[in-house]
């Protein structure tokens, strides 16, 4: 996370939040507006919770996520979750948003179809898969099982 940068004398002001935002016209700010604020990342209360992650694994199968993203999220029609790389951001808030709203390459929107609680549980599971450094492939290491359609 980039640290917040602020100044009360310059013409440009950065305000940190979930994303940094350039405010070009400080005169529109209300009096007393905090020009230096700490990031308030969205927290997932299930993050790292083993029980929730186990339930998330079940939801991942039950909602047919597995057949798109592969067994254990190894990648299939949809991208891998094991590589520590994220198309639309990997923070809990980002992952929640991807599941809730869907994404343009075909990821369905689950918001309103399943409970937000379940989306948070899925978020915890999906993030728990992201652990491998796959930057280098040297063709001598182990392999994973994949299935075709």
């Amino acid at each position: 996370m980039t640290s917040a940068v602020g100044t009360d004398t310059g013409s440009n002001y950065f305000v940190a939040g979930d994303s940094l935002r350039l405010i070009e016209h400080p005169e529109i700010l209300p009096a007393g507006f905090p020009l230096q604020i700490k990031p308030l990342p969205i927290k997932n209360r299930y993050e790292g919770d083993k029980g929730a992650i186990a339930n998330g694994a079940k939801l991942f199968v039950g909602y047919n996520c597995l057949d798109c993203h592969g067994a254990d999220g190894s990648g299939a029609m949809g991208p891998s979750f094991q590589d520590g790389r994220w198309h639309f951001g990997g923070s809990p808030g980002d992952v929640f948003e991807s599941i809730y709203q869907g994404r343009p390459d075909g990821m369905p929107a689950w918001g309103g179809r399943i409970s937000n609680e379940q989306i948070w549980i899925l978020t915890a599971y999906v993030r728990s898969l992201s652990s491998k450094d796959l930057s280098t492939e040297n063709f001598t290491g182990k392999t994973v099982e994949r299935t075709g359609h």
């Binding site: 057949d67 094991q82 790389r85 369905p108 491998k132 994949r146």
Partner: protein, 622 residues
């Protein structure tokens, strides 16, 4: 030890070779013992061999052009061009190449009409008209269709397109997001665009259409998404839908009526497309039409296959599940079903029957028969009477162990009990794998030799079925099927097949599944490309590799040949690994997606050493 059928070899050791071996091995020629090739005098007309074997329908347009996906309605992929011969094929070289600007699986083939070549790319399905008459092959036009990005994630097995077809000054092809378009061949302008599929329900289109009597025939993809498969005809002039036939459901919807006369008793009965399913499960039962189409003008029949039933988990759909995994013959004017042959009733291995149906006349048991030859995913090569749907011959063309053979009285395969898949069971070592003995990669036929040239897979699988819920727009699969190399230590073989006897004549073993199609020529040379990027010219009679060239990416496309403006014979092939093999199985061949880095898969553990995603057309000549 497990029983395996391999051509006519009876018993072989299965799984003798660990899945991690064999990837580095080069291809080796292997002449099958026993019968000799049906060699005949080289009649360069291509109309008939001395045995009388002939292609049922003439090549579309002049011999030097390639106007249809397979060159003709018969799906023969045979050309009468004969300049390239076994004597001179070693002198082949690259004449020019063209980047399509698109990565992913380049299945299908270009068209050549006059002095113009037409290329259609995978999603976003850009089409190009290339001027062959000018040095440097400049474009005449480029067409970039409106094509929904959502389609990328709704296509099960990569965002492929299997090509366009030409008729009456127009190029017709399908868009991944479910549209069919007609493009003016001269200007590149869109003449019409018709929405045929519903993307929100997982319907995409990947197949190559054909035009029959002024109608464009198209079919849906999405057998892994719980679609209800269909085939439809559009007016080539206006794009208006003329008829649409579903492949599952009541007779009215599947167009079963008075004309329907299936050969086998189990295919007769009222509303079988619905009653051979429990409850309403037929509504999400698959049966898509994503493969190749053939047409016999004399019988006025269109032939097409249908995909697997959905879901893979067979417990959720007891019954035959008609008309999935079937070969269907339909009246070209109305879409009415005339005969049906369900090659894999109640499929439980994902054995789609969408592979091409090649229409030829062959001497069988001393009698000339009008047949359809079909190399099915299930591992059997069928020689079928194309007027009636009667199986004349069905023999395994790859190692298999799920069936002991076809019951010729019923037309049904005899299934090995221990290879039946079931919910919550892990059934081990089923051959062929769900990719089939052959997949979309189309075979070719030469009337000179009377032989079929067939790109095949040699893979086996474990199959773990599980309960699954239908959720529109998500996969409806309910199964996992890790694959491994089949018996013998090779994963694919390019074979020559005699469909009058059901015997393999020769084979070229390949380290990887042969996912690209074949081309046969009157010069006595056949062509094919490999997943690891070799494009090869082979002696049609002996199977000897005459020449090979390493192209820029793995080949999953189909070669075509044409006469250039300079009068020379050219051979064109796409390079661009992808499709089910490239996207799902060879998961690590991509390099352009920083957010999607995948581990090597066990099925093709070394493929990424040899090739990466690409998108290029290569053109060769002497």
């Amino acid at each position: 030890m497990k029983r395996v059928l391999l051509g006519h070899a009876a018993i072989a050791t299965l799984m003798a070779v660990a899945a991690c071996n064999g990837g580095d091995k080069g291809a080796t020629a292997d002449s099958a013992s026993g019968s000799e090739p049906q060699v005949t005098s080289g009649a360069a007309t291509g109309t008939a061999s001395t045995s009388g074997a002939r292609i049922a329908v003439a090549h579309a347009g002049p011999p030097g052009e390639w106007q249809m996906p397979a060159g003709d309605y018969a799906s023969s992929r045979y050309s009468e061009l004969a300049s390239i011969t076994p004597q001179n094929a070693a002198n082949l070289h690259v004449s020019w190449a063209f980047s399509t600007g698109v990565l992913r699986g380049h299945e299908g083939q270009p068209l050549v009409v006059g002095n113009t070549m037409y290329v259609v790319t995978p999603y976003p399905n850009v089409s190009y008209a290339i001027d062959l008459a000018q040095t440097g092959q400049p474009l005449k036009w480029k067409f970039r269709p409106d094509n929904s990005q959502q389609a990328i994630g709704r296509a099960c097995c990569d965002v492929v397109n299997r090509g366009a077809t030409y008729a009456d000054g127009r190029i017709f092809y399908n868009l991944l997001d479910g549209h069919t378009v007609a493009i003016d061949a001269v200007t590149g302008n869109q003449v019409w665009r018709t929405k045929m599929g519903d993307l929100s329900r997982g319907e995409t289109i990947t197949m190559a259409p054909i035009v029959v009597k002024g109608k464009v025939i198209v079919g849906s993809s999405g057998g892994e998404m719980g679609v209800r498969g269909w085939i439809a005809a559009l007016d080539a002039a206006t794009g208006k839908e003329v008829w649409r036939a579903y492949n599952i459901g009541p007779d009215k919807d599947v167009k079963v009526g008075p004309k329907f006369k299936p050969f086998y008793a189990h295919d007769r009965g009222k509303d079988l497309g619905a009653t051979s399913w429990p409850g309403d499960t037929w509504k999400t039962g698959g049966g898509a039409v994503w493969g190749w189409l053939s047409y016999d003008p004399a019988l006025n029949l269109i032939y097409h296959g249908t995909s697997n039933p959905g879901p893979w988990n067979e417990n959720q759909r007891t019954g035959d599940n008609k008309w999935t995994a079937s070969i269907l013959a339909r009246d070209a004017d109305t879409g009415e079903m005339v005969w049906a042959l369900q090659v894999t009733p109640h499929d439980m291995w994902d054995y789609d029957a969408v592979n091409e149906n090649i229409l030829v006349d062959l001497p069988i048991k001393g009698q000339m028969r009008k047949v359809l030859v079909h190399f099915d995913r299930n591992g059997f090569a069928y020689t079928i009477d194309r007027a009636t749907g009667e199986i004349l011959l069905a023999e395994p063309f790859v190692p298999m162990n799920w069936s002991t053979g076809i019951d010729m009285a019923t037309g049904r395969p005899n299934v090995v009990e221990t290879k039946k898949t079931a919910q919550d069971k892990n059934v081990k070592d089923i051959c062929p794998s769900l990719e089939g003995g052959k997949n979309q990669q189309p075979a070719a036929f030469s009337p000179q030799t009377g032989l079929f040239y067939v790109p095949t897979n040699n893979l086996c699988m474990d199959f773990q079925a599980r309960a699954v819920t239908y959720i529109a727009g998500t996969p409806f699969i309910g199964g996992n099927a890790p694959e491994k190399g089949g018996p013998g230590g090779y994963r694919g073989e390019f074979i020559a097949w005699d469909a009058t006897t059901g015997k393999k004549i020769w084979g070229i073993k390949e380290p990887y599944p042969v996912w690209g199609g074949a081309l046969a020529t009157a010069g006595g040379v056949v062509f094919y490309g490999t997943l690891d990027g070799w494009f090869k010219a082979v002696d049609a009679r002996s199977g000897k590799v005459l020449w090979q060239f390493k192209v820029g990416s793995g080949v999953v496309g189909n070669p075509v040949t044409y006469t250039g403006p300079d009068g020379k014979q050219y051979v064109a092939i796409y390079a661009g690994i992808g499709g089910d093999m490239g996207l799902l199985i060879a998961g690590d061949v991509a390099a352009n997606l920083p957010y999607d880095v995948r581990e090597r898969g066990t099925t093709l553990p070394d493929i990424a050493r040899w090739t990466s995603w690409g998108g290029e057309l290569f053109v060769f000549s002497l």
